[in-house]
């Protein structure tokens, strides 16, 4: 069973879907999904719907909300996905997402909320958890992106280099842009562009080159630093965290590097990290949606199931769990 939700917050009318918990004891913590990028609240391959149905069957009240301009909610959108990505990276949806969460907590009488989703949803959830940690009980982040968009990274670099750099690029820069493109190489090495197919025919030490390109000890220049800091604080607070990435893909590699650089000496006992083999960024192949739903369901029950109580802040102990799921 599903019910519609209408939320009038911050001058926006948002539409969403409520998955009431199955009969039996209702968990005091809700689960809230945001939009993955520009995609409506159901998610790619209806991932969010399937996950919410499963969690509701376990007693969790679940909510999926379309943020302004996305899905069925009215609102202005930029012309391009790159601009939308930039808006998400800069926390453009955080205020309204926070108001939506507050209204859901009030309306359904919940103690707190677990939040997340895929890609942009993870970014918004993490930034919101950082700004308003009080009623955030946990985060689930699928394919989180801890780097700036290419356009934004270029703009940042141009700003830093000043006006003169624009004219020094020009024709030669355009010619060599492919060959010396950081993103081009990263995409190829993580098999996300058309040249990656060459690896099937030509022996190539892909992983070695990737390791060589990566400086595991420091944040990359393209890191979304405010988001990385938010990640550090979320880990330090001891909030239960679930991160699932597509093994060997761009976000997976970046997450590993950023996580390692940002938290070199910290323990993170409340982080569960899973790497799904043979899938893509949106989890629509290799059985990733089913695996993701399964893992989220286990994680939620383990942390917020029977006997759940508010988590103490601070951490001690061992390193986080990391597993690859094939």
């Amino acid at each position: 069973m599903r019910e519609l939700i209408q939320l009038d917050v911050k001058g926006h009318r948002l539409w969403g879907t409520y998955h009431p918990p199955a009969s039996g004891p209702r968990r005091p913590v809700g689960v809230l999904f945001f939009n993955p990028g520009h995609v409506p609240r159901a998610g790619h391959g209806d991932l969010a719907v399937l996950a919410a149905d499963r969690l509701a069957a376990q007693g969790f009240p679940c909510f999926r909300v379309d943020l302004p301009g996305l899905g069925d909610s009215a609102g202005a959108l930029p012309d391009t996905t790159a601009e939308l990505y930039q808006r998400v990276c800069q926390g453009g949806f955080v205020e309204v997402a926070g108001a939506a969460r507050a209204e859901l907590l009030r309306r359904y009488g919940l103690e707190g909320m677990v939040m997340g989703g895929l890609c942009g949803a993870a970014t918004t959830a993490l930034l919101l958890a950082d700004q308003e940690p009080e009623r955030t009980r946990g985060l689930f982040m699928f394919e989180p992106e801890f780097y700036l968009s290419e356009q934004e990274a270029h703009a940042t670099r141009d700003e830093a280099e000043g006006q003169g750099s624009v004219s020094t690029r020009g024709r030669l820069g355009r010619v060599t842009s492919k060959l010396f493109s950081y993103w081009g190489w990263m995409r190829m090495l993580t098999r996300e562009n058309e040249y990656a197919r060459l690896f099937r025919f030509v022996p190539f030490p892909r992983q070695k080159v990737l390791d060589w390109l990566m400086d595991w000890g420091s944040l990359p220049a393209v890191a979304n630093v405010p988001l990385v800091r938010a990640w550090q604080r979320a880990v330090e607070r001891g909030m239960p965290l679930l991160v699932i990435t597509a093994e060997g893909k761009l976000r997976d590699v970046f997450f590993a590097r950023i996580h390692r650089a940002a938290l070199p000496d910290l323990s993170y006992p409340h982080l569960r990290r899973l790497r799904l083999a043979g899938t893509n960024h949106i989890f629509t192949t290799g059985g990733a949606i089913a695996a993701c739903v399964e893992q989220l369901s286990h994680w939620a029950t383990e942390h917020f199931g029977e006997g759940f109580s508010a988590l103490p802040l601070g951490t001690t102990g061992f390193q986080g769990q990391e597993r690859a799921v094939g």
Binding site: M1, R2, L4, D8, G11, H12, R13, W15, T17, H38, V39, P40, R41, A42, G43, H44, G45, D46, L47, V49, L70, G71, D72, A74, G75, L77, P78, D79, T80, T81, A82, L84, R191, E192, E194, A196, R197, F199, R200, A246, G248, K249, G278, T279, N280, I282, F283, T284, T285, G286, G287, I289
Partner: protein, 276 residues
């Protein structure tokens, strides 16, 4: 707060619920349109434009109802049970609902991609006043094979999806009764078999009611699916229902063409010229 009058809701469909959104006309009602959307990732990627098309129509005095088929998006049901005839039933249920919401105005069914296949079938047997099809596939099988091609290409390119296979392998697996994961959804033998023989129901030559095929690839007249009843509009590539860098592509000419078609159906009295 938006001044738009949009009401999401559910319509009962057996044991399931069809999710729909009703966009009320913002000025005097001229017509009503039932929107039949695309399948799977095409739905996900095309949603931004599809919703804005509905809003555009509403702003011009057209009532709109759009819905999700059973097992897709916000509607309940299992995708594993999906077949083309079941989705067609869903569209008929949506049509009844729209008629109740908007009595006395001409009703047009408008489909995009998979939705165009379904809409054409509904047009043939229901007393609706017009049919508009954007980029319809030639048949259900053609459509599913095209989606399978995308899967094979993406998996080969990205090294995902397990052992590389061809479309024929997947068809064989479907025929053998196995589920095949395609763009995140579990295709079944039932879905595959229901697509075989599910051709685009091009209305007959003597059909009096207005209908139109719109090709969005700017193709020349000699390649029209329905010569004499087709238009060609060049929409930006990649198309908005595939992965695109443009959230809001320039579709002014397409919208104007569609609106002109929809409002022109008012010239035919409701129910006139329908085959029984």
């Amino acid at each position: 707060m938006t001044a738009r009058d949009e009401s999401p809701g559910y319509i009962a469909q057996g044991e399931d619920s069809l999710y729909c959104v009703h966009h009320r006309a913002e000025q005097e009602r001229r017509a009503a349109v039932l929107l039949a959307g695309p399948l799977g990732l095409e739905r996900a990627h095309g949603y931004v434009v599809w919703v804005r098309w509905a809003r555009y129509l509403a702003s011009k005095g057209v009532e709109v109802l759009r819905l999700d088929y059973r097992g897709c998006g916000e509607s309940t049901g299992r995708f594993e049970d999906a077949t083309f005839p079941r989705w067609e039933e869903d569209l008929r249920t949506g049509l009844e609902h729209l008629r109740r919401l908007s009595p006395g105005v001409p009703v047009v069914v408008h489909g995009l991609r998979l939705g165009a296949l379904l809409a054409a079938r509904v047009f043939c047997t229901e007393p609706v006043e017009g049919l508009l099809m954007w980029e319809p596939p030639e048949s259900g099988r053609t459509h599913l094979m095209e989606v399978l091609r995308r899967k094979v290409a993406a998996d080969n390119l990205e090294g995902t999806g397990g052992e590389a296979r061809s479309r024929d392998d997947y068809v064989a697996a479907l025929e053998a009764g196995n589920r095949v994961e395609v763009e995140g959804q579990a295709w079944s033998r039932g879905l595959w078999r229901s697509a075989v023989g599910y051709d685009l129901a091009i209305p007959e030559r003597e059909e009096a009611r207005p209908w139109r095929v719109v090709h969005l690839d700017g193709r020349p007249v000699e390649r029209f699916l329905a010569p004499g009843r087709s238009h060609s509009v060049r929409a930006p590539r990649p198309f908005f229902w595939t992965t695109s860098n443009r959230l809001l592509p320039e579709l002014g000419p397409l919208y104007e063409d569609g609106l002109s078609f929809v409002t022109s159906t008012g010239a035919t009295a409701p129910g006139e010229g329908v085959r029984s």
